[in-house]
């Protein structure tokens, strides 16, 4: 094969090709991740302290993002909010995807009654509206970070399961699966070493998408009064508690909305533009 000339907007780096949209998106995600990690050290004010006599205060020196409905510093709250939004969603999506993926692959590989039972049960779970489920859980056991994470995870397990199972069922029909079975391999090896590497890309894409849904559901739950213990707040809760500032275009409501949008849009764009390993060396 002859190299003619480089084409398209994709560039390459370290044996991967990527495009600029993907890079921009990952920079945004990286920025929020760093903020999530270092938030406690960079917030200008404790998030519970009232620093402004006014409420829904405008952006100004010292209160760079204005103040919230109680007169607390919005910048601090948004920075700390990143920690909870990213942290909780990440934990929840990890649990959801891990369980869903493992169950889905196991069901696909094992088949039979296990597959049927799991599929039926998780299908039934899907039919319960997620917000109502959240409502019942919190009414039953109260609201704390672990409960929140588990609730969100449980809500999204059936989806991850369905998705993975569909992919794994296809892989399961491949001859290399038969070869491995004839070799006498265990189920754990089959799902971990034979199936997983083949579905990891779509699973990661699904992971990202589900992350977005969880960020949004988290904000939806805060509307219904479930969420973090005050004065902590994730971005959704920040939007919610300051929604009264919307008529005044208060930064208190606009900024967290933009934060949610920037994170979710970036994740989606990154998924759509994941860097690709270049694998067309001359054969």
């Amino acid at each position: 094969m002859t190299m003619v000339r480089a084409a398209s907007s994709r560039r390459s780096f370290l044996g991967h090709s990527y495009n600029l949209v993907g890079v921009a998106a990952s920079l945004v995600i990286l920025a929020w991740t760093l903020i999530a990690i270092f938030a406690p050290y960079i917030v200008p004010h404790p998030i519970g302290n009232i620093v402004d006599d006014d409420y829904f205060g405008p952006m100004r020196q010292g209160l760079w993002l204005g103040s919230d409905y109680l007169g607390r510093d919005m910048l601090s709250r948004v920075l700390m909010g990143a920690r909870y939004t990213v942290g909780i969603s990440l934990a929840a999506v990890s649990i959801a995807c891990f369980s869903g993926v493992v169950l889905g692959m196991t069901a696909a590989v094992t088949g039979g009654w296990l597959d049927t039972c799991l599929s039926r049960f998780l299908d039934a779970m899907t039919s319960i509206p997620s917000k109502l489920f959240g409502l019942v859980v919190v009414a039953a056991v109260g609201s704390s970070i672990p409960v929140l994470i588990l609730t969100l995870a449980v809500i999204y397990i059936p989806g991850a399961y369905r998705f993975t199972r569909a992919l794994a069922v296809n892989i399961n029909t491949m001859d290399f699966m038969t070869v491995a079975r004839v070799r006498g391999e265990s189920t754990v090896y089959l799902i971990g070493s034979e199936i997983l590497p083949n579905i990891i890309r779509p699973v990661l894409a699904d992971f990202g998408l589900r992350f977005v849904f969880i960020v949004l559901l988290l904000s939806g739950l805060s509307f219904l009064g479930l969420g973090l213990q005050p004065p902590l707040a994730d971005w959704g809760a920040l939007v919610r508690e300051n929604i009264g500032g919307l008529p005044f275009a208060a930064p208190a409501v606009i900024v967290p909305s933009l934060a949610i949008a920037s994170l979710t849009i970036s994740i989606n764009l990154l998924i759509d533009n994941l860097p690709q390993k270049i694998r067309d060396r001359n054969a």
């Binding site: 039919s127 109502l132 409502l135 859980v137 509307f223 219904l224 949610i260 979710t264 849009i265």
Partner: protein, 316 residues
């Protein structure tokens, strides 16, 4: 061939019945975990132990919950949804009007969002990689990243408070003409379209793109078919399965997931009814609502399956 379809439908229905039963039991166990009962919830601050005991006695809540649940299930077999603990009205009467409202809202949203989403998804797939495609893709992501209550509140502020074009509340009782209907439903429907369309657009686009790369679409191209013929005659009928599946999943949200829209527009649907029922620990009402959500979901999923089967001669 015909009996094959019939058998498939029958099998689906059996599966649906099992799923429904699982859900009812799951909901029952979940609600029995909730602290308090209807008597203490109704009394609220006035719930002294004697008062609760008295009311519980009067409301016949002293039987074990499982017994009451099984009795309710038995009644269900005769088509009786039971009587609400909270206000002694037949559950059917409580649900009736509100279910109709939910169906209306869901129906109107469906009628508008499905064609919109399909059109956008299909056209984006046809013009894959174009500016239009990118715009649709990014907009659809953008739209899902805005929390629902934000969309709804913003819409109210703009259209009801400042422009005064539309009412802020969706008072179903005031719909006397088509114009009223449009005014009343405009905002909740727009909000819901925002919420559910994005996923449908994405899935439609993906499904169409996938079928567009099949050999039979290439064959159509080599027959000299136009782009639209390739899409509408060849790609779409075969992409129908995944598309209706995505549509069904999105629409299932409209049955029980619209609690926020119902709250903000004060629209009396059954999602809010269920929240009330949970708040008052009103077992028959909770169960009936859960059943409706489950049935709605199953109906959509089963309908999607059947459409997929009907559209695919290999499965017929």
């Amino acid at each position: 061939m015909k009996s094959g379809v019939f058998n498939l439908v029958l099998k689906r229905l059996a599966v649906a019945a099992v799923t429904l039963l699982i859900v009812l039991f799951a909901v029952f166990f979940a609600t029995s975990m909730l602290p308090g009962d209807t008597a203490s919830m109704l009394l609220g601050q006035a719930a002294t132990p004697e008062a609760v005991a008295g009311l519980r006695e009067a409301m016949h809540l002293n039987d074990p919950a499982i017994l009451r649940f099984l009795r309710w299930l038995l009644g269900l077999l005769h088509g009786d949804l039971g009587t609400s603990y909270a206000n002694d009205m037949p559950v059917a009467a409580l649900i009736g009007g509100r279910l109709l409202n939910t169906v209306k809202l869901a129906g109107i949203t469906t009628l508008l969002s499905v064609p919109l989403a399909l059109t956008l998804g299909i056209t984006a797939a046809m013009l894959r990689g174009s500016l239009y495609d990118r715009t649709v893709t990014i907009l659809s992501i953008g739209v899902i990243s805005v929390p629902e209550f934000m969309v709804a509140t913003l819409a109210v502020l703009v259209f009801a408070v400042y422009l005064k074009w539309l009412p802020a509340l969706s008072s179903v009782n005031e719909a006397h003409s088509l114009a009223d209907l449009v005014r009343i439903y405009a905002m909740p429907v727009i909000t819901l379209i925002f919420v559910i369309s994005a996923q449908m657009i994405r899935m439609t686009r993906a499904a169409v793109i996938e079928t567009l790369s099949t050999p039979y679409v290439e064959m159509a191209l080599l027959k000299g078919a136009s782009r639209s013929r390739m899409v509408f005659r060849h790609a779409l009928p075969n992409a129908l399965g995944p598309i209706v599946n995505a549509v069904a999943l999105s629409l299932s949200y409209l049955v029980g997931g619209v609690i926020i829209v119902e709250t903000i527009f004060n629209y009396p649907g059954i999602a809010k009814l269920m929240v009330d029922a949970v708040a008052t620990r009103d077992l028959p009402l909770i169960q009936s609502c859960a059943m409706i959500f489950c049935l709605g979901y199953l109906f959509l999923i089963t309908a999607a399956d059947i459409v997929a089967i009907m559209s695919n001669p290999r499965l017929r």
